[in-house]
């Protein structure tokens, strides 16, 4: 699902970000970023599973955003998804927030 709030696009994938779903998600995210919004927030509240394929998709979005001066963050990860995110070191270069509102207000 995609919504707009305060010039930000909020992308809310559902289910799993795994080897099956991540390539399609990455393509869709890439298309959305072509419009060069002020910011893009990936709301992971409905994501129950994240693998390295999902991380690659999130990283591709972060790289595109950085190259186009788009603010970029992920938010609302459950404990297990957050564990994968931090264990892989992704929290070093992608901003994370507890809630979507915190992300919008802080970016």
């Amino acid at each position: 699902m995609i919504t707009n709030e305060k010039d930000f696009i909020i992308v809310s994938p559902n289910g799993k970000l795994d080897t099956i779903s991540a390539p399609k998600f990455s393509d869709e995210l890439s298309q959305l970023l072509k419009d060069k919004p002020k910011g893009c927030i990936i709301d992971l509240s409905k994501i129950s599973f994240l693998s390295s394929s999902g991380l690659q998709a999130l990283l591709a979005g972060a790289k595109t955003s950085k190259n186009n001066n788009i603010k970029y963050a992920v938010c609302s990860m459950n404990e297990m998804v957050n564990d994968v995110f931090t264990l892989s070191g992704f929290d070093r270069f992608i901003k994370t927030f507890d809630t979507k509102d915190n992300a919008i207000n802080s970016l």
């Binding site: 795994d18 080897t19 099956i20 599973f49 693998s51 390295s52 394929s53 991380l55 690659q56 990283l59 972060a62 790289k63 950085k66 297990m80 994968v84 264990l87 892989s88 070191g89 992704f90 070093r92 270069f93």
Partner: protein
């Protein structure tokens, strides 16, 4: 120990079968098992060199003791020890970040014990978690 034959043409089908087999375990354990299975089996299918052999990939598992889950991944590809692969460098800048090796790095992080052997023409990766 139960065995699943991995369909190299449909990784989704394989992962669904595994997920069904572990449905009685708690959420955190299921998450870890699925992560390990996805990373290892994806590597087996996409990156192993089977030369001219028919791909044979098998997954064995023993879930009897939730404190000591056994997983075994076996394939008939050319010898390849994934544990010798360097961990990804995650200290670089975002532009330079390369994710090669991230999957097996995650597998190492989530396993209590991980061993590799090559026997009778097969790669065998044993995981205890």
């Amino acid at each position: 120990m139960k065995c699943l034959h991995v369909n190299p043409n449909d990784i989704g089908e394989t992962l669904e079968k595994i997920e069904l087999s572990i449905s009685k375990l708690d959420d955190a354990l299921r998450f870890k098992i699925m992560l390990i299975c996805e990373e290892v089996i994806t590597n087996q299918i996409r990156h192993s060199n089977f030369k001219n052999r028919t791909q044979e990939i098998e997954f064995y598992f023993d879930l009897n003791d939730q404190n000591s889950i056994f997983l075994i991944f076996k394939d008939n590809a050319q010898r390849f020890n994934p544990l010798e692969k360097n961990n990804p460098d995650i200290t670089t800048d975002i532009e330079d970040t390369q994710l090669g090796g991230l999957g097996i790095f995650m597998v190492k992080e989530y396993s209590k014990k991980l061993t590799y052997t090559y026997k009778d023409g097969c790669n065998i990766l044993r995981v205890i978690l």
